[in-house]
């Protein structure tokens, strides 16, 4: 099949090619850092959209899971002197195991109940980060050394950049395959109606676990990369501000759209930097974006893109169009 130039796939390939080339084309340290943050947020957003958009589960703990990935990775380096390449997967595994534990409340709760229960959990996790001082170094956070990529002839910053690039590209492709697989269709059935999903033979426990596990995996890996990039980990990176950042990323791009997640993850970093540079209130800007998009542009930016580019052929899984019912 011919690759249309304006399909999400072609746009994605172009974006990643550009991201690969940016440092080589002379993007300075600051821009590389910003691009790096974008890729990290793309990973988080893609994961969060799997659980929130495709599976329809309103989870407010994702910022904390992101933090657990960051803390897990950085604390293993700090306390045991383990190398980053080992700590990153271990931190992600910690995040996944905690994300999976949240499946049990999620089996009984949905909607507002699930949102608030997971929010309460997130706040407890944040409290542990602040108060378990002997392990987490408390409210002030802690630094970790630069990650060396020797013997590769590449600086720590560039090493992190290309690591994030590779991981981000890999996870986006993984997410694309998941969405198109049986699991992805089961997620959508879950979000439509849990009871009818069950009657279609979809195992709630298995697919909720898959949705929570995947989003936690994405958040955990992103957290580890975040720690490696900033070389600093502190609780305030994972509080309510991080939560609304992630929610805005999902809603801005488009709930239930993979391309939207990529767009959202990139855009929130731009908006955040712009907001800080112009000294506007982050709370008003991001709260306002969330409100406005939920009220007036429910499908997010991908809906606009689709309107102007007919060849944008992604199926949106949270689209309001009625689906045909099973006989």
């Amino acid at each position: 099949m011919l690759l249309r130039l304006t399909s999400p796939m072609a746009a994605g390939i172009a974006l990643f090619a550009l991201l690969f080339a940016a440092p080589l084309l002379g993007a300075n340290e600051y821009y590389s850092y910003i691009l790096n943050l974008m890729m990290i947020h793309v990973i988080v957003t893609v994961g969060l959209n799997l659980v929130m958009g495709h599976a329809g589960q309103l989870v407010f703990a994702n910022a904390a899971i992101f933090g657990i990935g960051a803390y897990g990775t950085a604390l293993l380096m700090k306390h045991f002197g383990l190398p980053f390449w080992l700590c990153l997967p271990l931190g992600a595994m910690l995040a996944v195991s905690i994300g999976l534990a949240l499946v049990f409340p999620a089996l009984r709760l949905s909607g507002i109940y699930l949102a608030l229960a997971t929010l309460a959990f997130a706040q407890c996790a944040l409290w542990v980060m602040v108060h378990w001082t002997p392990v987490t170094f408390g409210a002030g956070g802690f630094t970790i050394p630069a990650v060396s990529f020797a013997p590769l002839p590449i600086s720590p910053d560039m090493g992190m950049y290309y690591l994030a690039w590779a991981v981000c590209a890999l996870l986006v492709v993984l997410a694309r395959n998941i969405v198109r697989s049986r699991i992805g269709r089961a997620f959508v059935a879950l979000s439509d109606n849990e009871i009818s999903a069950q009657s279609l033979g979809i195992d709630l426990l298995r697919y909720k676990a898959a949705a929570f596990g995947l989003s936690s995996l994405f958040a955990g890996i992103a957290g580890g990369l975040f720690a490696g990039t900033l070389r600093f980990v502190g609780p305030e990176s994972f509080d309510l501000h991080q939560m609304i950042l992630q929610l805005v990323a999902v809603v801005l791009g488009g709930i239930g759209s993979l391309a939207g997640s990529v767009i959202g993850g990139v855009l929130i970093v731009v908006v955040l930097e712009f907001t800080k540079a112009t000294k506007m209130s982050v709370e008003i800007v991001f709260g306002g974006l969330l409100l406005v998009f939920v009220l007036f542009a429910k499908g997010g930016l991908v809906v606009f893109i689709r309107r102007f580019l007919p060849s944008w052929n992604e199926t949106l899984h949270a689209s309001p169009a009625p689906r045909s019912k099973a006989p």
Partner: protein, 299 residues
């Protein structure tokens, strides 16, 4: 030694009951809106926070009497409740998408918090409120209790009674109750349920404004206080089953006392997370709350 233990215990109970009464007021607002609309107002804490700042502006900045400040906070939050309804619930209710309503409320809560931060000082700035009466303790049954706490506790209970009277005896209160009970039937008797929902949001917010004004002399005001109080109010409401006003009141008192006792006898830091742990445990193990469906007459 024994008497000193008793003194501390008495003090903790008095503090717990006073803060508990305020949590109960916040919880009542959560429950009233939830019963009518099936939605938890995520921006409810911001109603509380802005109510507190409005009272501060009237009382401290403009030197108006406390009762006037109280009225200003209640009126201001009443309007804020209407704004919340108009910007979140009304435009999204017809879609039947609760997740969207909740997300809109999350957005609104951050906007309100940001506005408050701009208006009343940046992060880390705490505004203080003068005490209502001289801080001499009074002796009740051998317990030394701050007279200010007694006043606040009494006033909080008075607000609850006033609210109960409103629900029980005014037409508007009964219309709200009927709409919460059976929305379709409320439409069929000719009630404009959209107006009733708006009033429900407004009244819920106004109670939070009242609670904030009462709490202000006991604590400090800062933009993040809203989220913290929302969590406590929600925990109290969840403990009572989310749909029950008596449950919310009992939940509020229980939470207030638990916080004080756990902070003093287990670990200080627990006061901050007690509510979160409570929410998490209640939601998982007793989602219907302590009273659940047993509370038939719901007001």
């Amino acid at each position: 030694m024994k008497t000193q233990d008793m003194m501390i215990f008495g003090y903790l109970m008095a503090t717990g009951l006073t803060t508990g009464a305020l949590y109960a007021l916040v919880a009542i607002g959560v429950v009233v809106v939830f019963r009518a609309t099936g939605v938890v107002n995520f921006a409810h804490g911001e109603m509380f926070m802005i109510g507190g700042f409005l009272a501060w502006t009237a009382h401290v900045m403009f030197g108006l009497p406390f009762l006037v400040a109280f009225a200003a906070a209640v009126a201001g939050t009443f309007v804020l409740g209407i704004i919340t309804y108009q910007t979140t619930f009304r435009p999204l209710a017809s879609t039947g998408n609760q997740n969207a309503i909740l997300l809109a409320m999350v957005g609104l809560s951050f906007v309100l918090k940001g506005i408050a931060r701009d208006l009343w000082g940046g992060r880390g700035d705490y505004l203080s409120f003068p005490p209502l009466v001289s801080p001499t303790p009074v002796d009740i049954f051998g317990f030394m209790i701050m007279s200010q706490q007694l006043i606040v506790l009494g006033a909080a209970i008075a607000v609850m009674i006033g609210f109960w009277l409103f629900f029980r005896f005014t037409r508007a209160g009964k219309f709200m109750q009927a709409t919460a009970d059976n929305t379709k039937a409320a439409r069929l008797v000719g009630l404009r349920v959209d107006r009733v929902f708006m009033l429900t949001f407004a009244v819920g917010a106004a109670i939070a404004g009242a609670a904030a004004t009462l709490m202000a002399p006991l604590t400090l005001l800062y933009p993040d206080v809203g989220f913290s109080l929302f969590v406590k109010g929600f925990a109290a409401a969840a403990l009572g089953g989310l749909g029950s006003i008596p449950g919310a009141i009992v939940g509020g008192f229980l939470l207030g006392v638990t916080e004080q006792l756990s902070a003093n006898y287990i670990a200080t830091g627990l006061q901050e997370v007690a509510a979160f742990i409570l929410i998490f445990l209640v939601m998982i193990f007793i989602p219907n709350g302590l009273f659940g469906t047993a509370a038939r007459r719901r007001v």
